[in-house]
């Protein structure tokens, strides 16, 4: 309304001034005029003054309005220009900021990429180094294991060779003090051999010895017993005549030796360790019982875990407690089952179950076999004895049938002597007639057995000379073994079976 009111005031002022001036002029004119023309002149002057006032008002109004509008247009233009400038400035600022942002973004991205690259490189480097270290550790471990296995194998070979040498010397030297020393060395060597065997087992080397034939249970037990320090405290209770297959015999002996060693070490130094052998449907159970400390449940479980562990890692093995780990390895290798339980003797009992696959039914030592010996030996003795007496009697009375034989096994031996006698005139030259037989027979006749055998004549049936020569051979062998030194060269280590 200011736009409309602001031209109103000067217009009104112009109207007022004009009307006052013109009014005054008219009044003066009217007053001055003769009275006759006063009235028309009044009217005329009044109308002219009115018209003049209106015209002044209109001119003033229009002039002011135009000025006002012009001023408003100027304002609007100025505002417009200002706004345009502001917009341009904003746009420029925006561009600037955008540029800065882009630059900063690029810089950040570059820095990040650089850091990422560095981190990646460091990571790859670390990984590489770790891998390298791992490989080196692995190869170092493998090399150490191989070296240990190799050394253990050589120790085993040495021990085996030494045992064989000692055995030979024990046969050669009859003097008791020498023999005592040899036996002492033998025992020490056997223990050293067991340690080498243990290391070999733990390092995964090939097992020490292979026996070419089945080993009877008694030998297994004694072989195991001979490898520990306190073997004199071990008592064997075995009537089993089973034999362990040759490939497993060494492992069984070794495992048993470790268990015996544990039993002997963890019981009082004077307490006995008892070994029982029991045949069960699943095979043979060997029980090692000591009267030492009773193992707690935890210890029993730990021991069982040690012998049944599936893993082959050597972590957790201490240098002095190799035994159970060795037993575990051997058990896994040969399929033995080892368990522990409290013993009725007050200590701990260790049980080994040998499955049937490891057992051999064939009896490997015929001279010690109950089935063959009674049939064999009396016949041999009878033959030899008859031969010795034959110098006097054989011509006159060619050997009668062995019916009067009193020995318990003669029934089995009976078919044999007639068959041998059927081909010759008598035992004088033996069944083959070889000169050796005759010489052996003659020497046998000269042997001091003669008088004694003759004194016991009623017990001795007459027979043939078939076995006297073989028997005399063994006699000579024994004399030589006991009396004269051997000329066998010492065998090298390489000869030893690994």
């Amino acid at each position: 309304m200011t736009a409309s009111s602001s031209p109103l005031r000067p217009s009104a002022l112009a109207l007022l001034v004009t009307s006052v001036a013109s009014g005054a002029f008219c009044t003066a004119a009217v007053a001055a005029a003769p009275s006759s023309v006063q009235l028309p002149l009044g009217w005329f002057a009044g109308s002219g003054a009115l018209l003049l006032s209106v015209a002044a008002f209109a001119v003033t109004w229009l002039a002011h309005s135009a000025r006002l509008l012009r001023r408003q247009v100027g304002d609007a233009e100025a505002r417009n220009a200002r706004l345009t400038a502001e917009t341009a400035a904003r746009a420029a600022e925006l561009d600037r900021l955008a540029g800065i942002h882009a630059k900063e973004t690029a810089a950040l991205a570059a820095a990040h990429a650089a850091r990422l690259g560095a981190a990646n490189a460091a990571h790859a480097d670390t990984r590489e180094r770790l891998g390298e270290e791992l490989r080196r550790a692995e190869s170092g471990r493998a090399a150490a294991m191989a070296a240990a296995a190799n050394a253990a194998g050589r120790m085993q070979a040495l021990a085996t060779g030494m045992l064989a040498d000692l055995r030979e010397m024990e046969h050669r030297h009859a003097a008791e003090d020498v023999l005592a020393d040899l036996l002492h060395l033998d025992h020490r060597t056997a223990q050293a051999g067991r340690l080498a065997d243990s290391v070999a087992v733990l390092t995964g080397a090939r097992s020490g010895r292979r026996w070419a034939r089945p080993i009877v249970m008694e030998s297994i037990l004694r072989g195991a017993m001979g490898r520990i320090g306190g073997y004199q405290r071990v008592r064997l209770h075995s009537t089993s005549d089973a034999a362990v297959a040759g490939h497993a015999a060494e492992g069984v002996m070794h495992a048993l030796a470790e268990l015996l060693d544990n039993a002997a070490n963890f019981s009082p130094p004077t307490a006995e360790v008892h070994v029982y052998v029991e045949e069960v449907p699943a095979g043979i159970v060997i029980t090692v019982e000591d009267s030492g400390l009773v193992m707690s449940d935890l210890q029993l479980r730990r021991a069982e875990r040690a012998v049944t562990a599936e893993s082959l890692d050597l972590a957790g093995i201490s240098g002095t407690r190799l035994g159970l780990a060795v037993v575990g390895r051997l058990a896994r290798k040969h399929g033995l089952t080892v368990s522990f339980r409290p013993s009725a003797r007050g200590g701990t009992g260790a049980l080994i179950l040998l499955p049937h696959e490891l057992l051999s039914s064939t009896n490997p030592e015929p001279p010690l076999s109950p089935s063959t010996l009674p049939a064999d030996l009396p016949a041999a003795t009878a033959d030899g004895a008859a031969d010795e007496g034959g110098v006097r009697t054989e011509r006159a009375a060619p050997a009668p049938a062995p019916a009067p034989a009193p020995a318990l096994a003669e029934a089995e031996a009976a078919p044999e002597p007639p068959a041998r006698q059927g081909d010759g005139e008598g035992p004088e030259i033996g069944e083959s007639g070889l000169p050796q037989r005759r010489r052996g027979r003659t020497l046998a006749a000269a042997h001091p057995d003669g008088p004694d055998a003759a004194g016991r004549a009623p017990r001795i049936p007459p027979g043939t000379a078939s076995r006297s020569a073989a028997r005399f051979g063994s006699f000579r062998q024994a004399v030589r073994a006991a009396g004269t030194p051997h000329s066998n060269p010492p065998h090298p280590e390489g000869d030893t079976e690994k």
Binding site: R222, Q232, S238, T381
Partner: protein
């Protein structure tokens, strides 16, 4: 070579385990030609060498023969025999005891004669 390979054909028994660690029989009853006669049969559970000795010496058998049969040193066999003798399972007879007895015709040949025989054999 026919020699046995060491460690392969041996017995796993060490000799000291046969005798329980003893190396001396503590008696001089046995020499190489002492005759051993079993007084009883082997019983189950006996050490196999003892059982073998008892079976072998059902008829008089010399110590050296037993040693040869068992393939053991004579000293070890002496210890085993001493154990058996101590428990009365065997009796030992020395051949010399027969020498002075009535069977004079069975006495040992004179060493001179044996020597002459040896010389004669060598001259063959």
């Amino acid at each position: 070579m026919s020699r046995r390979r060491p460690g392969r054909d041996d017995s796993p028994d060490r000799l000291y385990t046969l005798t329980g660690g003893r190396s001396s029989s503590g008696s001089d009853v046995f020499d190489l030609v002492t005759l051993i006669v079993a007084e009883c049969d082997p019983v189950p559970g006996m050490q196999s060498e003892h059982a073998a000795i008892l079976r072998m010496s059902r008829f008089p058998t010399a110590v050296v023969e037993i040693a040869a049969e068992l393939e053991l040193p004579v000293s070890i066999v002496r210890i085993l025999l001493a154990d058996l003798l101590g428990t009365g399972r065997i009796s030992a007879r020395h051949p010399r005891t027969a020498h002075g007895s009535a069977h004079s015709s069975y006495r040992l040949p004179d060493p001179d004669i044996l020597e002459q025989v040896l010389v004669g054999l060598r001259n063959l």
